[in-house]
């Protein structure tokens, strides 16, 4: 009996599209439980509308063109904000990782601001830029800057001295050491840090839109709650989660597989 089960498992693992079917089964289970709860409570359209109702509202939102437009707004904000955050954070982490003096100066400052979360700086940013796109963008940028800067900093410091010495004894200049040794040597940290940063930025964009936006998924959730449209609230939440999984799976994972896994820098 047990033996048969194991054989079935082995067979299933090698079955084409087994992963997709597994995922579909899990989603189906969740939807069933959701439907079950929704059908047993009072006033489900206010507290927990059924999956079908949420799906219908998405059809409605797509038909009106609102969902694609909100989704696009949010995505553009995320991409703009976190790319600037990464573009600033990576070199900054590199510089303070390489140079002791700049680390002594900037580290305490960074540590201070790291603890003041994106939400905590929101009020002051609103005072400066009002309820505008700039406000949301600044908060995303701020949020994504610290995780990447800190991880790159520790990444640079963990590059084995031997690698640097080897390059220098082959005549490498300071710039060449950075380009050929320190930068690729911190790739594992850059990958993890980027993922953290974009993950944080994704949360910040939603929060930002709720507080200061006029469009976007966050704004959609917020206004739907005001208008008592719970199905749109849930739709927004599902969109947020699903987009992240897609982004992670199709953009960030392949990036890791192509670099640090190829180099044998991660074991599992």
């Amino acid at each position: 009996m047990r033996n048969n089960l194991n054989r079935f498992r082995a067979f299933w693992r090698h079955f084409p599209a087994a992963g997709a079917i597994n995922l579909a089964l899990i989603i189906l289970c969740i939807l069933l439980i959701w439907e079950l709860i929704s059908s047993t409570i009072d006033n489900p359209s206010r507290y927990l509308p059924s999956p079908i109702l949420v799906a219908l509202s998405s059809v409605d939102m797509i038909y009106k063109g609102l969902l694609p437009s909100y989704f696009g707004d949010t995505l553009i904000r995320l991409i703009t904000g976190s790319s600037i955050g990464l573009a600033l954070g990576i070199p900054f982490g590199l510089i303070i990782g390489i140079n002791r003096t700049s680390a002594d100066i900037f580290y305490p400052v960074m540590n201070f601001f790291q603890s003041v979360s994106g939400i905590a700086i929101f009020p002051i940013v609103v005072i400066w830029w009002g309820n505008s796109d700039t406000t949301v963008l600044v908060v995303i940028l701020y949020t994504s800057f610290f995780p990447i800067a800190f991880t790159v900093l520790s990444g640079v410091r963990e590059v084995p001295m031997q690698y640097i010495h080897a390059a220098r004894t082959m005549g490498a200049t300071r710039f060449q050491v950075i380009r050929d040794v320190l930068l690729p040597g911190s790739m594992p940290h850059i990958a993890t840090g980027s993922r953290l940063s974009i993950g944080f930025a994704w949360r910040a964009v939603i929060a930002g839109e709720m507080l200061a936006g006029r469009e976007g998924l966050g704004w959609m959730i917020f206004t739907a709650q005001d208008a008592d449209k719970t199905s749109e609230v849930i739709l927004g939440m599902v969109m947020i989660g699903v987009s992240w999984i897609v982004l992670d799976h199709y953009l960030l994972r392949p990036l890791e597989a192509d670099t640090i896994e190829r180099w044998g820098l991660v074991q599992r």
Binding site: P160, H165, A166, R168, T169, M170, G171, T173, W263, G264
Partner: protein, 262 residues
């Protein structure tokens, strides 16, 4: 033969990384390495062998005494003095071929010529077929072959080797030693080879510098008059010149180890 490397009255202290106490690593070292010569350095652990190598490589600044190459004081790293490190110094993110060609790349040698030179050295160290592998896919012996080829390919005048075969298994080590001997014949490089293995020191060296326990001083120079072409492990154990040199080095090192343990 003119002296390639000259060290005079070199004394070195460095602060211990944790306690901050001053460690007296080298005391008035005087030595010369001639052009085209392979010199081995042995001594008890902590006798300052690696300190000497790092100073010669230009990686470690020094204040007392002098170290020079071709009469010019050593004041920083240079591609004229290539180093083969103990282990794990080839870059994991570069393939074997890219690691070996790195030195030429840093010098701005054009791709075509680079690839030609790289394939030469891949042949020399027996890594044909592994050009596109990454270091984590290689065995310990192959990694060290790659490291040796990388240093050679940058064409330094002097090769400094810091216990390069210490981390590989005994069988591979013997092969690597014979290969290095072959490379020394083929390239006529000036080589300073640090080791803690007495057999290795006697097998590879034209001369062997035996260091004292810390602070490291040059205790004795043992000459090993065996032609390079005759240096094959299968014959060594019957070669009286090898046995005599090895036993002498062994006796000197043992004495120093006993001093350092006392």
């Amino acid at each position: 033969m003119p002296a390639k490397l000259v060290v005079t009255d070199l004394t070195h202290h460095y602060p211990d990384e944790y306690t901050g106490e001053s460690v007296h690593a080298l005391e008035k070292i005087n030595l010369e390495v001639n052009e085209g010569e392979l010199v081995t350095v042995v001594g008890p652990s902590g006798c300052g062998k690696s300190t000497l190598l790092n100073i010669l490589a230009g990686l470690l600044p020094y204040r007392e005494g002098n170290a020079s190459m071709d009469g010019v004081k050593i004041q920083g790293p240079s591609s004229e003095r290539g180093v083969v490190f103990q282990e794990q110094a080839i870059l994991p993110w570069r393939s074997v071929a890219k690691n070996i060609g790195h030195g030429l790349e840093l010098k701005g040698v054009p791709r075509g010529e680079r690839e030609k030179r790289v394939s030469e050295f891949i042949k020399l160290v027996g890594l044909v077929g592994f050009e596109d592998k990454f270091p984590h896919e290689l065995s310990g012996g192959m990694k060290q072959r790659c490291a040796v080829a990388r240093t050679l390919c940058a064409d330094p005048a002097v090769m400094l080797m810091d216990e390069p075969f210490a981390a590989v298994d005994a069988q591979t080590r013997i092969t690597l030693q014979e290969e290095l001997n072959r490379i020394a014949i083929a390239t006529k490089k000036t080589i300073l080879f640090i080791t803690h293995s007495v057999d290795e020191a006697a097998f590879l060296g034209d001369r062997c510098f035996v260091f004292t326990a810390r602070p490291g001083r040059l205790r004795e120079i043992v000459n090993i008059d065996i032609p390079r072409e005759k240096r094959i492990w299968a014959d060594m154990n019957n070669d009286p010149r090898f046995i005599e040199a090895r036993d002498k080095i062994m006796r000197l090192v043992r004495e120093e180890v006993l001093v350092s343990n006392a």
